[in-house]
């Protein structure tokens, strides 16, 4: 069972400016109208929106994209059964119907999900979209040559574990039924109340079998959304989208599609992107970015300039940076030692190292501080703003370390504001006050990730981070704390090696719920219960600040993706 979050992994590799949610996974969002301009009349229709990105739109095939909520640029071309609610803030973390008439109807134990397609849906060539096309689109994502998507479908669909895709296995997946052209039924091998969230991913995009060109499909995927691909150079480095005249706004409540053309240019350095957006000259005035945040130094410059400050959009993507313990390594097998470290943490200095209070919020919970995750505030080992070294020393004494303690903190040498030497040094300074000497072990980034995700080489005390594939407690807690997801050979994300029957049982019970609000509350409660075990020390939740060009209007930033949603933007 694998459930790695591609976003988590990619962010780890991101560079100075925290290029988040790279490429396809670039998420989509809802809005925070940072422009503060008020009194906007109706958004202007037409014009060209330029997207300046660091990560290219590689493998622009719905089978191959690994997205959260269908992605930002991909979502302009690929409609899915369900999608993200394109609203600002918490409302934007909800799942809403897209091609389907609702977010899905489940049987009693959430193992059978039924969707009905809206009427009048067509592709860019005017041919109708059928439920068989949706089924075919999912089946192709099982073909080895079209790999890249999330592993959930293979894990969840009945009998899909060894399916090799429609090219080799013409019979198709029996777990997906299409009783008529507008109905599609999914049979799952276990209860999954969050199936509607999964149905936002691009694998749920219809692909007409007659137009499928296999691995070449990515150069011109058949559009079901408001835009179609007219140019795709260098595997997604330069993508030009133009209006799809067969897209009917009457069937699509979510995408506004104001500009006529979307010009996506990638492979740019993050500092270049921010420089161009702040200068806003020529075509850059109508430019946005979907993957490049402002770094602390850039923020310092931007906040000193009123005009620039008005063009900054703020978003939150459900994400937690934390310290992980491996309780099989001494002295971290002793809960008192883990608690002592929790008390000694100076979150304000960690937040500063991560970019300051505008770019990071102190975290005491593992779940992100957002409603859709079931955020329930708790703080089992209150360290206050800057740590409680006295309490930490007391606990260390009880644990038998009267003369202090020397431990090694493993981190990455990459400058990524997450697991970087800067964060590690800030922690080192804070723990020193509690008599804990921290030695730093900085590893090359790939080496670091291999080590912390292997049960055999996992260090005792290291920096880690986690982001979920959709904004809910399930994909956030289960991969990290579900004992059945400990992977002995391969990438393991349950770094605390927790295998607690009551935790596993509660995860199963919540997965049966189809009432997502009720599920969220129970995820929150489970988070608190796990938090008291001190297997992790939550440090901070990042905040995304991004510039837009001076002619960009209608900035919508949701809690789902934390970045502006291209489908809502208009340009002057």
């Amino acid at each position: 069972m694998r459930q790695p979050s591609v976003i988590a992994r990619r962010v780890a590799a991101a560079s100075v400016s925290l290029v988040v949610a790279a490429g396809a996974a670039a998420c989509g969002p809802e809005d925070s109208d940072a422009k503060g301009s008020g009194g906007d009349s109706a958004p202007h229709k037409g014009g060209t929106l330029t997207v300046l990105n660091s990560e290219p739109q590689t493998d622009f095939d719905p089978a191959r994209l690994y997205t959260s909520g269908g992605g930002n640029v991909p979502s302009l071309v690929f409609r899915t059964l369900t999608t993200r609610n394109r609203e600002n803030g918490a409302a934007g973390a909800e799942v809403v119907p897209d091609l389907a008439t609702d977010t899905g109807r489940a049987n009693k134990d959430a193992t059978v999900w039924t969707y009905t397609l809206k009427k009048g849906l067509t592709y860019e060539d005017g041919t109708p979209i059928t439920s068989a096309d949706v089924k075919y689109g999912i089946e192709r994502s099982f073909a080895p040559e079209l790999s890249g998507g999330a592993p959930y479908l293979r894990d969840w669909l009945v009998g899909a574990a060894d399916y090799q895709g429609p090219y080799k296995d013409k019979k198709g997946l029996s777990a997906i039924e299409t009783p008529d052209a507008r109905t599609i039924v999914f049979h799952l091998n276990k209860p999954e109340g969050e199936f509607p969230y999964l149905a936002t991913q691009t694998q749920f995009t219809p692909v007409p079998k007659s137009k499928d060109t296999g691995t070449k499909y990515e150069s011109h995927p058949i559009s079901s959304g408001p835009y179609k691909v007219v140019k795709n150079e260098n595997d997604g480095e330069h993508v030009v989208l133009e209006r799809n005249t067969h897209w009917s706004p009457a069937t699509d409540a979510e995408r506004k599609a104001y500009p006529d053309t979307i010009d996506v240019r990638s492979g740019l350095d993050s500092s270049v992107i921010n420089q161009r957006l702040s200068a806003s000259q020529g075509a850059d005035a109508a430019a946005v970015t979907t993957d490049t945040n402002l770094g602390p130094a850039e923020l310092a410059k931007v906040t000193g300039d009123k005009e620039l400050a008005a063009r900054v959009g703020t978003g939150r993507f459900g994400y937690t940076n934390y310290i992980a313990f491996n309780p099989t390594v001494k002295p971290f097998d002793n809960p008192k030692v883990r608690q002592a470290i929790s008390y000694a943490i100076d979150r304000s200095s960690v937040v500063n190292a991560a970019g300051g209070s505008a770019l990071a919020e102190p975290a005491t919970t593992f779940l992100p501080n957002q409603k859709s995750f079931g955020y329930t505030p708790y703080d089992p080992f209150p360290a206050g703003k800057s740590g409680n070294p006295a309490k930490a020393e007391e606990l260390l004494k009880q644990a038998g370390f009267k003369n202090g303690l020397t431990i090694t903190l493993t981190h990455s040498n990459d400058k990524n504001f997450e697991t970087s030497p800067e964060i590690a040094t800030a922690l080192q300074d804070a723990l020193k006050k509690a008599g804990i000497t921290v030695k730093l072990q900085g590893l090359e980034d790939n080496d670091y990730r291999d080590k912390i995700h292997s049960v055999k080489t996992e260090p005792g005390f290291f920096l880690a981070h986690w982001g979920a594939d959709w904004p809910s407690g399930g994909p956030f807690l289960a991969p990290i704390f579900d004992g059945r997801q400990i992977v002995k050979d391969g990438a393991n994300f349950n770094t605390g090696l927790l295998n607690d029957k009551s935790v596993n049982g509660e995860i199963d019970a919540i997965n049966k719920l189809t009432d997502l609000d009720a599920a969220a509350k129970r995820w929150g409660a489970l988070d608190q219960k796990i938090g008291e075990k001190a297997l992790v020390v939550p440090l901070f939740h990042p905040v995304y600040k991004r510039l837009v060009g001076s002619d960009v209007k209608n900035v919508v930033i949701s809690d789902w993706t934390g970045v502006l949603d291209i489908s809502q933007v208009s340009v002057k």
Partner: protein
């Protein structure tokens, strides 16, 4: 290998100057170069600052690792509060963005790393280089062949790539500054030193006093230590003086790439790498370590070149010591000891085509009138120089 280093490879080849009286002459010649003198003072100050780092920071009342969250504006990315990066009576050079650590303390402690690592690396380079060079020069054909090929292999290694690879695989428990110094010295510097020493050894080997030592049955070791090393001192010192700034740059580069010394130990290269994004919001954060690094490397290079000139007998004529005094000095101290003509000629030729960055550039372009005699014995050189001046 910088051009300057290549240039010194052949410098000071007339090494017959006796060590004792040579020291006095060396100081006189060094003092005669104003730039070198200023550089020497700067270097002495830097060394003093590095040695006295704990004292200086105690005087300021700060240390290089304490965080001062109250001195930075967290909401603005952690930019220092106050003008010029928070410069004031408490923090003489302001504080670091995002942490509030004292810049002055980090700079002076950073000097320890820069100077310590580079001097340590230079020492190791000289020791290895001299040992290899002398052994190759005095050994038989096979020893020479093997050692020379090993040296060639190291000369052709790309420093940065090798260092990155080595620093990545060494266990993190190893003391980092020592490791950085070792790797810099192993991967670069010693090999060119060895080549130069070998050439020099071959030249000295045939001189009468060395031959006499060998013929009278002294061991190779004794010959090397008693007869050769004094003769090698001048070119090796010259070489070492120019290796120091190259090593400082190498350490800074490795730290800049994140594989140098480990945080929280301050190092200039590391400060530069954290500071590069801050050049607009907090320019002093970038400028201070950059300036310190520039000043150090520049002063070391000028001083190194001064040493080269002071130890180069042919350069005596180019120094502004005054014609009369210079002639006296030369009469008193320069013992003419003609080296083997062939060696001298090739070395002169090399020197003449190598452009020299410093004030003697013009002189070097002038071919020596009589290549196979010690050139400072040629009065023409001096008069030419005066005409140009």
């Amino acid at each position: 290998m910088s051009e300057a280093l290549v240039a010194v490879e052949t410098a000071g080849t007339d090494t017959s100057v006796p060590a004792v009286s040579g020291a006095r002459q060396f100081w006189r010649r060094l003092r005669a170069q104003r730039a070198a003198l200023v550089a020497a003072v700067v270097v002495a100050l830097l060394v003093l600052v590095a040695l006295a780092a704990p004292l200086l920071t105690a005087l300021e009342g700060q240390d290089p690792t304490t965080y001062h969250p109250s001195l930075i504006d967290s909401a603005r990315g952690g930019v220092p509060i106050g003008s010029l990066g928070g410069i004031g009576a408490d923090h003489w050079l302001g504080v670091e963005p995002q942490t509030g650590r004292d810049m002055f303390a980090r700079l002076v402690y950073g000097a320890r790393v820069s100077l310590g690592v580079s001097l340590g690396a230079t020492l190791a380079q000289v020791v290895i280089g001299v040992a290899m060079g002398v052994a190759a020069g005095l050994g038989n054909r096979w020893v020479d062949l093997v050692l020379s090929r090993i040296t060639d292999i190291f000369i052709s290694m790309p420093l940065m790539i090798m260092s990155l690879a080595l620093l990545a695989i060494v266990p993190s428990g190893f003391p980092r500054p020592v490791l950085v110094a070792l790797i810099i010295s192993l991967v670069s510097g010693w090999s060119t030193t060895a080549k130069m020493v070998r050439a020099q050894t071959l030249a000295l080997k045939n001189l009468d006093y060395v031959s006499a030592s060998r013929l009278s049955g002294w061991s190779t070791w004794r010959t090397a230590v008693r007869e050769l090393l004094p003769g090698l001192a001048a070119p090796v010192i010259t070489y070492a003086a120019l290796l120091v700034p190259a090593n400082i740059s190498a350490e800074a580069a490795l730290s800049f790439l994140g594989v140098g010394v480990k945080p929280p130990t301050p190092s200039w290269g590391q400060m530069l790498t954290s500071a590069d994004v801050w050049y607009q919001a907090a320019p002093q954060y970038l400028l201070l370590p950059a300036l310190a690094l520039f000043l150090t490397v520049f002063a070391m290079t000028v001083l190194g070149d001064g040493v080269r000139v002071a130890l180069d007998p042919r350069a005596a004529s180019r120094l502004r010591i005054g014609t009369g005094r210079k002639r006296e000095a030369r009469a008193g101290t320069a013992v003419p000891k003609p080296g083997p003509a062939a060696t001298e000629a090739t070395q002169d030729a090399t020197q003449d085509v190598v452009p020299d960055a410093t004030q003697d550039a013009t002189q070097d372009l002038v071919p020596d009138a009589v290549p196979d005699t010690a050139s400072d014995a040629v009065p023409g050189a001096a008069s030419k120089k005066e005409e140009r001046a």
